[in-house]
Symmetry: C2
């Protein structure tokens, strides 16, 4: 069984995730998180919020998932958020044309998405590629662009199209003017959002990896590109597993272990801000349980870059031998804010105050209309505009006696004295600047999937094979399972008291009194519960319990009144089980 299949089986049986509406046969690309999965996902989101919002002092907002068409006209998604589709004329099935080309055994193409459509159509002819559903030859069939946004209509009628957002980011960008006010117009500032995003995939696949509805955790960090520097010193010694564009060209598959400082110095990572985020993110991945031996940062190849991005790196995790993107780190520049300013007509900039007012020389004109009007008639207005433009772009042109401008395709010569040309001294207190955007964009479902895959372990305990999830205590859905040895003689009552005491201390607790203790351990092992507490007859007399650790199955005897503190410290990583 593949790693993915094994995981999907456990996920369903234990309540991590299932295909939605399975009773109805389900629809590809939609999954429901069961109780364990929802808790794991919530813990991964909490750790993200702690790391990228609270500790970095960023804001967090929550925007709607449906937005009006104008927003996606501006963002470029209406035009450019497409996949290549080919439809089989025989069976009617639609496929991603680029994937069929890449999957073809004769093909050497690795990134067909980057090719122009006619080239892809050519490959179907050259390689006799067939429909994977029915085997029909697809040569000659048209390859088309398919927009991946889910479309709907807002209100009655059909005149107000709306779209389900393809990324949470646009919900932040459109509110920039207001958000800048909340930040008191001080750059840099960051705005985060965790929420649903949608992609109407042609062929969803691989459980939580390629789905049609998913959760993103995105941070948009707005910076002044001229002056704002990230606190690189905080991460300079962090060692990054980098897989650069150059290494990918060399095709040796190997990653380079290199510190943030070195990677910046050697120019492997071009943006200091991207380097900073790769640095702080590595500790986050470790914290939630990504196996660092199955992890790398991969640089985008030049042809692969999104329309808005300059330097771009992905965090990738390995599952079943495939590398999947779990985060994209993109330097989006001023692309989005400029677009929204153009399309909305509102200002998407901040006014940046200089430390001290600056005096600049500003060439101006103040034409004598009493002369221009009679002389040039209806062309006079256009001539004024051109004089203003010329003064700003080439003030030296006004040094002679006459100046010539072109208006409506004709040249006009005007005496300089009639233009009212002058060089004024103007005092400016600041300037309007459009911030650049640095964006780490996390796929929450893919992180959940990675963490489960990397935590999946089997070993042998008491002669039986055991499956367990080696999740970090902070991420595990349940921190502690509480069991009475038997459901009699007051053991259950005492165990329920202990369970409540632990809940009061803020721990996630599962109480279980059914079946043999060994079976109860196995159930908790399979959902990754790091600690189990058993209340036995000695507990009633001596006020102690057995605490058992998941990975080692080691057991210790601990006093009941120390449990809340001990287990909290173990969950928060402030202590290890060995210490007790």
């Amino acid at each position: 069984m593949s790693e993915g299949d094994r995981l999907t089986e456990l996920a369903k049986r234990r309540g991590f995730f299932i295909q939605t509406a399975g009773s109805y046969g389900g629809v590809a690309g939609f999954y429901t998180y069961g109780p364990e999965g929802a808790a794991l996902k919530a813990n991964i989101e909490s750790a993200w919020r702690d790391r990228y919002v609270t500790r970095e002092g960023n804001m967090e907002i929550s925007a709607p998932t449906i937005m009006q068409e104008e927003v996606f006209e501006a963002s470029g998604h209406l035009d450019g958020f497409d996949d290549m589709i080919i439809e089989c004329p025989e069976c009617g099935e639609s496929h991603r044309a680029d994937h069929l080309v890449e999957d073809d055994p004769d093909s050497t193409v690795e990134d067909a998405e980057a090719l122009p459509i006619p080239d892809v159509e050519g490959l179907f002819e050259d390689h006799d590629i067939t429909c994977p559903t029915c085997g029909w030859e697809l040569a000659g069939e048209p390859v088309e662009e398919f927009n991946l946004m889910f479309e709907t209509n807002i209100g009655p009628g059909s005149s107000d199209p709306g779209y389900l957002r393809p990324e949470t980011a646009q919900g932040i960008f459109v509110e920039f003017p207001q958000l800048a006010e909340y930040a008191r117009n001080q750059l840099p500032f960051g705005v985060a959002q965790i929420g649903r995003a949608y992609r109407n995939e042609i062929s969803p696949r691989k459980a939580l990896v390629r789905v049609r509805e998913f959760t993103q955790a995105e941070l948009e960090h707005f910076i002044d590109p001229e002056t704002d520097e990230p606190p690189l010193w905080r991460v300079e010694d962090v060692v990054l597993p980098l897989y650069s564009a150059e290494q990918q060209d060399a095709d040796d598959g190997g990653v380079q272990e290199i510190t943030v400082a070195e990677a910046v110095e050697e120019g492997i990572i071009q943006s200091d801000w991207i380097a900073f985020y790769l640095g702080i993110s590595k500790a986050y991945y470790e914290r939630i349980g990504v196996d660092m031996d199955r992890f790398r940062y991969r640089q985008h190849l030049p042809g692969e870059l999104a329309h808005y991005a300059s330097d771009c790196w992905d965090a990738e995790s390995e599952i079943d031998g495939d590398w999947i993107e779990i985060t994209g780190f993109a330097y989006r520049g001023d692309y989005d804010l400029v677009k929204h300013e153009q399309y909305s007509g509102e200002e998407y900039s901040v006014f940046k105050q200089y430390d001290e007012p600056v005096t600049v020389e500003k060439p101006t004109v103040d034409p004598d209309m009493g002369y221009l009007g009679p002389e040039f008639g209806s062309a006079a207005g256009e001539i004024v505009t051109e004089l203003e433009r010329l003064a700003a772009s080439d003030p030296d042109a006004f040094e002679g006696d006459e100046v010539t401008v072109e208006a409506d395709g004709e040249a006009y010569t005007i005496p300089v004295e009639k233009t009212g040309f002058e060089i004024e001294e103007v005092t400016e207190s600041g300037e309007h600047i459009t911030p650049h955007v640095v964006e780490p964009s996390f796929g929450v479902g893919r992180m959940v999937y990675t963490v489960l895959a990397h935590a999946y372990e089997t070993d042998e305990v008491d002669g039986e094979e055991r499956t367990y999830l080696s999740l970090p205590p902070e991420a595990a859905p349940t921190t502690v399972g509480v069991f009475p040895l038997m459901d009699k003689d007051g053991l259950a009552e005492r165990a329920k008291e202990v369970a409540n005491q632990l809940r009061e201390a803020g721990l996630e607790v599962t109480y279980d009194d059914s079946g043999a203790i060994g079976r109860r351990y196995r159930r908790q092992d399979e959902v990754g519960t790091p600690f189990c507490v058993t209340i036995d007859y000695d507990s009633l007399e001596e006020e102690t319990v057995t605490v058992r650790e998941r990975d080692t199955t080691a057991q210790k005897r601990l006093p009941i009144d120390e449990l809340p503190g001990t287990l909290s410290a173990l969950r928060d990583g402030d202590a290890t089980f060995d210490e007790f």
Copy 2:
């Protein structure tokens, strides 16, 4: 200024909520929570999770917002989730027909939604109701049903319609077979979900009250209606402000203050389960800051009940003189599970084991085909079926020598000895039962709006008018503001240390060093921060700070090292400011 307008102004200025994409003119019914609003909303959701999931031992899941058509065929939303629409032929504007009828000054109709369409059309004629946009007379225009679900299409082509869920509940119901397994097939059990839901309103209005995209927190409690009883004893003395159907008929507007036990005994609340949830929910509303003087539980009138519900009560809060529904408590019976069983063909039931196996007498037949075949030919099969049916429904019919059944419209008489009739003793270990559902369904946005409206206060401080939000410390976006008196002499450094220390203790902290202390207090007052800590020169020497309470503006001097414990206790309601 109305209460709503005052609130909307503060909400925008301070970052609670704004209309989405205001730069583009926005679209009615879509709002974005700014940093303060997102934090307040998250706190209200956390308190809900603590109350309805953790403390009640329920499960929580997370399902997609898009679901396939079959699900909503089964749930009844495709057919019945409609509002009445009327379109003005003059200006083209669409309106809710029932609202126009209710808003008409001559009208005495209070609940036009419950009327049949022809009656509503009649009211347009009788009262000469006009278009509120352009004044055109609407008499004679057709009133139609408008389905409120947002429709989209899943995948390429247009053959797979999907809908944005109108309630989170269906995402739970469709997974019932799997969820019952997670609950080890033991009733009762509860499954909760917090997430987005959608309603394509014809005329959204009143800020967060009637929107097109909103957040619900729903709990579906699956019970055995024959045997499961709620723990009413936990809430029997809770006093409920009830506005029953009877009181509404009497039209005196007054509510009845009555304990849960009395309301059940007097039959005012019909379902014990609904009574239980009204009881535990009252404390929840108080906890998040709903003003109990502007709150009531209103029973649905018979005509108002949803298609699936028997007894139904709403929690309502008063804003601007209007009562708005913030929660619906519905006894949904087995409606949803039966529907999904019918439409999906899967079993939506649990097998309920008897305490002890039960022996029942079961009449059976085992017809002699060697006789029936030759005797009755092709009718023999049908005859067997009818004999089986008769044995089950009327075993006495087999007491004579002959028995007569009707098959394919003809009567056949068969000797009883050829039917193989017998009464067998069968041992049954349990039975399949379809659970009933009790549902408290909370509108999170409406609770946020209520809590803000009820917290909004003004008073006079130092001769100036002050606006503050009297939010409970647990709900407030920020628990504590930390200010250095001046940004010099090491005060800022010490203040930042204190801020970090408080963050480490899990408190939400805002650090502010800009402007006069008075202005910083006002800013925190307006976002409802309950406590502010000022670091001054004495702080550096004596390790004490000034702590100021929001509502009273009272100030106390407290040691720095006690701050984390003191402020945590104040936030959690374990202490009051007076005690220190």
